[in-house]
């Protein structure tokens, strides 16, 4: 087609832009998002794989796409879902709508409430202190990714689920390969997934033999065995593997990202050091500010015609909501590109919105608070040990983050 616009009876559909708009550059939010929020809040995009989609960039529209029950995820498995990686996901909570989704979600939600997570804080602090002790003993320069950011969330999720931390080298490779690279052949990804399922299957069998084991995995096994309708065996194994994988990739990546942003905002960092009671507000602001995803994914499919951002989305069409763009919407966040710990309201969408709102959000918050609090109070001279230009960033399509972060203190 040579014409720049194609007209249907009730709307103009422009040709799709390739998405993501640019190769990810550190933690910079592509200015295209800001332009689109102004001039074309619903835009057509084509991801590297799958069908074309709408992309919502304004805060209100993103909330509608994620929260309105006229949109759902279940249709994605019948379609060539827009996605950043070759492999399409056909199972798990993020491919379901209520009430199927509710059945799985309710089973795990109880383990991740703010109250349950608070009970894990002292133990998390203990782990963080031990990790920082070890790093200090080694002396600078040391890699913050290797010595703190990676082991902290993994050890916490392992203890919560009941996965032996000693096996971390095995499952870390499997889940790292799944969530943060695109350079692996599909067969290898499938092989890693199979390994992860088989490994979790073994742990499940162990809890069948010993029903007294009191961890989240044990609780899920009991839920499965008490009422088979609630959870199939495959769902059980995938759910547990999913929590293990999701339970660390993201937080592992965010800890160094947060430190990186703080080092670039020395005035804010100084305030945090002077007054650690600012840590929870700082973590919320960093969750808003850091664009973790390279691009948005998990498109919602319209279940009926829906008007969003001035566009009529037809039943059956996929819509992506950009969390990074919503979090920089100046109509909701004053001076949105500034890191500001004093925002009175910070309703950021860093953990999403609606029924799929991150199930691990309270856990991740607590871990990030402990990590940031421990680093700023125990290592007041924390700084990069290499010039910024030498930092190596992940090159995969899913999350932005540092491969290593050599620091001194």
């Amino acid at each position: 087609m040579t014409e720049s616009a194609q007209t249907t009876e009730s709307r103009t559909v422009r040709p799709a832009r390739p998405y993501p708009f640019s190769v990810p550059d550190r933690l910079v939010v592509d200015p295209t998002y800001g332009e689109l929020r102004e001039s074309e809040p619903m835009t057509r995009v084509k991801l590297p794989y799958g069908e074309e989609a709408w992309l919502a960039t304004r805060y209100e529209d993103v909330r509608t796409v994620l929260g309105d029950v006229r949109f759902g995820r279940a249709l994605a498995v019948q379609r060539d879902e827009p996605r950043l990686t070759p492999r399409q996901q056909y199972s798990g909570m993020l491919t379901m709508d209520p009430p199927d989704h509710t059945r799985l979600r309710r089973l795990v939600a109880k383990a991740f409430t703010a109250r349950r997570v608070e009970a894990l804080r002292p133990r998390t602090q203990e782990i963080a202190d031990a990790l920082v002790d070890d790093m200090v003993r080694l002396g600078p320069p040391a890699d913050l990714v290797e010595h703190v950011a990676t082991p902290l969330p993994i050890q916490v999720i392992c203890e919560l689920l009941g996965v032996p931390y000693a096996d971390r080298d095995r499952f870390h490779i499997w889940s790292e390969a799944i969530v943060s690279t695109t350079s692996l052949p599909m067969e290898t990804i499938q092989e890693y997934l199979n390994n992860l399922w088989a490994y979790m299957g073994g742990l499940v069998a162990e809890r069948r033999r010993d029903p007294g084991i009191d961890d989240l995995l044990g609780a899920l096994v009991r839920a499965r065995d008490e009422n088979q309708d609630r959870l199939s065996e495959t769902e059980l194994v995938e759910l547990a593997g999913g929590l293990l994988a999701a339970g660390h990739e993201t937080t592992v990546t965010q800890i160094p990202n947060f430190v990186y942003v703080l080092l670039h905002n020395p005035d804010q960092l100084a305030r945090l050091r002077a007054d650690p009671s600012l840590v929870p507000a700082a973590v919320e602001e960093l969750l808003r500010y850091v664009p973790l995803g390279v691009g948005s994914s998990f498109a919602r499919y319209a279940r009926e015609d829906v008007e969003v951002g001035g566009v009529l989305v037809r039943a059956g069409e996929p819509v992506l909501g950009s969390l990074s763009s919503a979090n920089r919407d100046g109509t909701v966040f004053a001076d949105p590109d500034r890191l500001d710990f004093d925002r009175e309201q910070n309703p950021h969408l860093g953990f999403g919105h609606g029924v799929h709102h991150c199930v691990g959000a309270q856990l991740a918050r607590m871990e990030l608070q402990v990590a940031v609090g421990t680093l700023v109070t125990r290592l007041p001279g924390l700084r990069l040990a290499v010039p910024e230009a030498e930092l190596k960033w992940k090159r995969g399509m899913l999350v932005r983050g540092l491969l290593g972060m050599p620091v001194a203190w």
């Binding site: 994620l66 939600a109 409430t113 029924v355």
Partner: protein, 75 residues
């Protein structure tokens, strides 16, 4: 089963995730970013317990409307 339940949302706890409104749209909606029940006293329905048990900050309580017994969230 009791004839009626009373739904309460603690707006100081609610963090506006909209999980409840997505799970049980016939019972919850978001008003100015926070959850509000559409009706306080309702006929018992499992989906209300689904919503209460899925709230990450346990902001939703469900009580027996006659004797105030706590039905959700459960331990």
């Amino acid at each position: 089963m009791s004839p009626a339940w009373r739904i309460g949302v603690d707006s100081r706890r609610c963090i506006g995730t909209s999980i409840c409104a997505g799970t049980a749209p016939e019972h919850f909606r978001l008003v100015d970013g926070l959850s509000a029940p559409l009706a306080d006293v309702v006929a018992p329905a499992e989906v209300i317990l689904d919503a209460a048990d899925s709230c990450p900050v346990e902001a939703i309580t469900v009580r027996d409307a006659t004797d105030d017994r706590l039905i959700a969230p459960q331990e």
